[in-house]
Amino acid sequence: MTRYRPDRTVADVVIVGAGVVGTAIARTLARYELDLVLLDAAPDVGTGTSKANTAILHTGFDAKPGSLESRLLHRGSALLRAYAAEAGVAVERTGALLVAWTGEQLAALPGIEANARRNGYQGTRALRAGELYAREPALGPGAAGALEIPDESIICPWTTPLAFATEAAGAGVRFELGTEVTGVTSAGGLHELATTRGPRRCRWVVNAAGLGSDVIDAMFGGGGFTITPRRGELIVFDKLARPLLRSILLPVPTARTKGVLVAPTVYGNVLLGPTAQDVTDRSAVATTADGLRSLLAAGQRILPGLAGEEVTSTYAGLRAATEHADYQVYADGGRRYACAGGIRSTGLSASLGIAEHVAGLLDEAGLPLVPRPGPAPAPPAMPYIGEAGTRPYQDAARIAADPAYGEIVCHCERVSRGEIRDALASPVPPADLGGLRRRTRAGNGRCQGFYCGAAVSRLMAGRR
């Protein structure tokens, strides 16, 4: 993929924002006869909220019934489940348990179950304390019961937007990354976006700018919502903690507290979080001493065994929260503009539903959608980076065919030189070591580079 500089050509559609929503829209629109540009301020796809979240593929059981979010989550999660299976995105159907620790929480479970039904989800099941502890023996003492949501799953949040982007790149979408939109002038049926790399002209703009979606929306005369980023800090525990739990352990939301969850990850770790703090700075992805301390305290109540395990990593992500309860998704034919903003924390699960919905809105608003001839392209075959399936280092036939898959470079995550080589040569290559981590897991492990940091950097720089 060449990172095209903005040029004098006129694109049919510029999608602003290459997160999970923007890349999903790009691969969906790429099925039509359109000249598409995917633009992002960051030098890679999937770098904002898309890379730092709880990595859960939600069923939408707890959405607000009747909301757009509920509808798109329901549709999107079904689409993504199927897509992930085809594209090699790691997904594990672990199920979730809403664990009630107090009488008040226990009393709230039937209401949550009824709410799930209204959202079209029928699979919930109430568990008594005894059943709960049989399922999760390492759970801390004092749980009164739980509601089981068997279809809640964990997913690789990094491969998902990469798969969408890879599919889009294959269909001819041009990527203009490291390019921030600073303004727009519209005249004569054309938009001219002012960017940090010069002007870029197009007929239509789709705003999928996540944390910046209100700023872009205001440029197009919207202004119906304001993003107040909600910071969530998370702690990733060592893989040796993974046997402590089977399911996603969710808190029961009450009026007083949101609580934190404990979940397995598809990489075989245990995730604890998030905190929820409203911040003003849209780049405030730093962790805090208070946040980490409160998470550890909460985690040790839920799973006391976590206290004896090592922390592998900590991070913070920002959710694009607005003053509205629902997504801000609309299209305006007069302005040749569509907005998919205010997507708080369900964007990953709903992404394909949002993309399908936005395509429909654009069609209604007058963007000519002419399907490309021939069958729809199959999802790309992405490198599988989950623990549940076979990794390259475990595949004797693959190593025999290409010994680079037997050369383990990142020991904690068991990433081979072959996988790093493939990622660097992929259609959507990483811009930096962070991007390489999201594509291969190299450097993500418990040593955080003690053993492999220098070697991975050498490979990234094209040296052995």
């Binding site: 301020a41 960051a42 030098p43 890679d44 770098t47 490291g178 390019t179 921030e180 940090t196 790399r197 990733v236 893989k239 040796l240 780049s283 992805v285 730093a286 962790t287 805090t288 001493a289 946040g291 980490l292 550890l296 090592e310 922390v311 592998t312 990593s313 900590t314 991070y315 280092y393 475990q394 004797a396 190593i399 025999a400 010994p403 680079a404 037997g406 050369e407 383990i408 020991h411 068991r414 811009a431 930096d432 070591l433 962070g434 991007g435 418990r446 040593c447 955080q448 580079g449 003690f450 053993y451 940091g453 220098a454 070697a455 950097s457 050498r458 990234m460 720089a461 040296r463």
Partner: protein, 428 residues
Amino acid sequence: MTVVVVGAGPAGLSAARELRRLGVGSVLVADREAAAGGVPRHSFHTGYGLRDRHRVMTGPSYAQALAGAAVAAGAQVRAGTTVTCLDVRPGGPHQVTLTSAAGIETVPAAAVLLATGCRERPRAARLVPGDRPAGVMTTGELQQRVYLSGERLTGRALVVGAEHVSFSAAVTLAHAGAEVVALVTEHERQQSYAAFRLGAAVRWRIPVWTRSTLSRIVGSRIVAGQGAGQEAERGRLAGVEVTRDGTARFVPCETVVFTGDWIPDHELARRAGLGLDPGTRGPAVDTALATSVPGVFAAGNLVHAAETADIAALSGRHAARQIALFLKSGVPRGELDGGFAVPVVVEPPLRWISPNVAGAAAAPPLGRFVLRSGEFRWGARLEARQDGRLLTRSRPVRLIPERPVHLGAGWLDQVDSAGGPVRVVTSR
């Protein structure tokens, strides 16, 4: 039947050579790194080999000498080979799965020696809050970047820790071109050896900031399209916040190195189901360095993170002799779950003791136990008691965090095999 040694650092290589010298027919050493030698491979300062080879060498020449000696003795040393699974079988042989560019192979082993060493806790494991920019690393990564990759560093650097390895990191930073601002330690004073400390301090005039903690990491602001190279996305380190007596101040710097705070690389041991010692966090071992599974032994910094390389080497040699005895007699030595096996535990301020099981007929490596303290104490005595009964009391010793303190092993024959754990405590 083969003895498989996991890890070709000082302990593993020394053990391999000794096993061959003692007549063990087949010795296979696997190391996941591209070359044998372990940490000394990328530790360019001198001082290696003192107690095991009776001369002073640099890390790389020491690593080379140990690897050469193991190969010359007839051990098979395979670098670039990861032990991806250790399947222990009661009564043996244990099954060891090796993965490399040559493929995946499972080797039956009459005995296994785990010598997988230790690593420094990185920033995340220490729960240091803040941003996640580039330029934050451990000594292990720093040394490999500078000495194996030939990277140069510019700007100011801060070192977290003030023990032996911290001064070593400071020297590496200075060699690489960085200006070392200070060593930061939460302790009252630094903990390194005088000679080493003086060398670094006099030559580079590096101050030590005591009773201070690195309380936050601050990254540079990322501007769209302006990032370059391997930090395009996450940005560089702008500086850190150092807190002393509740007051935080910002210290601009481009590199931070987290040193020490060792943790054994116990993944293989734990996944194989070996009993772990809560103090060292490595596998529990008796004085023969036998683990809870007969035929599986552990040596080096996996069982005492971290001692100097020569001590690790002697620990490997000790384990080799015990493995040779085990192979000859066929007696499962050091069965921790049954027979004569009494845990040896410590109480604060002591953090750990190694070995940590009394029971085997053997004396521990070098005839002594090695311990760590979490606090400074002058003139403390170490006492070992079992069920209140005094087994031994040491002469007054000086306790320094992260520095070894030793306890003789002459009292082992007084341990009651049916009694409770031996408690090692400090007294005046």
